[in-house]
Amino acid sequence: MTEIVIQTHKLSKIFGGLTAVDKVDLTVPEKAIASIIGPNGAGKTTLFNCVSGFYAPEEGDVLFYGKPIQGQATDRICSLGISRTYQNIRLFSQMTAVENILVGQHPRLKGTWWEAVLHNPRYMQEEEKAVGEALHLLEFVGLDGLGDHLARNLPYGAQRRLEIARALANHPKLLMLDEPTAGMNSQETADMTAFIKSLRDNLGITILLIEHDMKVVMDISDQITVLDYGTKIAEGLPKEIQTNQQVIEAYLGPGAAALSKKFQRKKTHDA
């Protein structure tokens, strides 16, 4: 039995009168790629924000390796080993790519301000190693040679990769990606999909992602959770979700399931 990395238990988040996330249970085992999908406004990002500590949930628990983390400060949650990226890229745009990754390493480094002034050997060694690691990471995400460019001057795809590199710099146990392929063309999307797979396969990181591109989701997910109006309406393997009537209706409106069946039959017939 593999260990469970993150588990939410009856998690609810309420804004005013609106229940954005309503008693959601989610379980992600180690080394899995778990996707959260759902129509716009289904509460996917809110769920993300509850896990990463931006919001304190009104009800329910978030367990990270069995320990409750809900309501803690985001910096504490990050230093436990949960990193994330953002739907609209949020890099430190005035800093270079390498520096962005070094900021990502922040919780793992120990240098203090007086060490920085004194430049004692321990500090110098740590900095040297940190830069080396950052460059290694930069190479890993395919951005070597761009390290000294300011983050805001990088092309869009590179910024997405850099954001992931920054998240990886923390050596996370859980990586949360919020729409990693948004705004990418099909070639870039394919690259990103392969890259996410390689993160799990090569680094053994558990990945939780929000994604709108069904092709990506069906391609890489080990499990899919479907949210609609804040509640979980389905969960399972990609194959199961594809044929789930409730899911189809949530996406396309009531009555769509029947149509889709017809369409699918036709498709199989064609094949």
Partner: protein, 368 residues
Amino acid sequence: MSEQKTTRDQPSLNVGKLIRWIAGILLLALIGWRVYQTAFIEGSYGPDTWMRFIIAGLIIGGMYSLIAIGYTLVYGILFMINFAHGEVMMLGAFGGYFIFELLASIKAPSVSDPNMNFLNAYPVISVLLAFIVGTVVSAVAGLLLERIAYRPLRKAPRLVPLISAIGASIFLQNAAQLLFGPQRRQYINPVILWRGTGWSIPVGDTTVLLTYTGTLSLVLSALLMIGLFLVVQKTRLGRSMRAVAENKQAAALMGIDVDDVIGKTFIISGVLAGAAGVMWGIHNGLFNHYVGFLPGIKAFTAAVLGGIGNIPGAMMGGMLLGLLESVGPAALGIDFQLKDVIAFTILILVLIFRPSGLLGEALSEEKV
């Protein structure tokens, strides 16, 4: 490692809160005890003196309220402190002054008095003219300020417009000093509005003077505030202002000209500040290019006190601050020199204990 941190973090936050509350209660108790001592045990001041303090506080509070509304309106829409707002008020004070001087130099001989000037012959029209010109000057200043110093910076990081505002404030102050000279000037009011004249209200054995100028200020501020409230709540402009404050993009998509609404907001806050400036001149008399600075900062304090972005909050905050500043030194039994310290201390205390102000902030929530 994680376990330790998890268990430690939660209580330490609460301890901070607890310390803060204990400190707050202790402070309140200390103030209460001090007030009790000076007011009842020592009895340094009679009821008539307290009455005088309260009246003075309400009058100055009305002016603070008017200026504070300008801060709150602009902050609600642009999320920036219009640091030059006090200078807008100062320009209004100069506008009214020059009108009084001009009218005083125009001869309007009448049968009874051949040396009569326009100011004294038609005092109501004169005062009205002074207010109109003062408010127009301030409104134009506010509009130009927005055009030149703030509009190009709509998309800049938040510190940038604030620094620009500080620059504009320094510029306006020094421009006024260079143009009009550094000396203090005095409003020469029409005879019926002379400072020091008014109704005597009997309090106990003595009487308390309610000056005409003070009454004028208080009534006029009340009228202007009611007018503003109606504009914001009932008119098309008010609706679009509220929409822009809520969400600029959505408002623009609904066909509202956001820049236009922002410009009009600056005009409205300029009008209110200009009126406050003329009131300041008529009621207090002396003023110079530096007159807007302290009232400006205090009015911002008032806006924060009431909850920034909240118009009734700004009105209440201004009145409250005026009262506290006027009554406070006497009630606490401290030096009157320290009345500015009271205002700033209140600001710091409010921000520590209730950062969203007494009536709550009315700002659109920033997205995570």
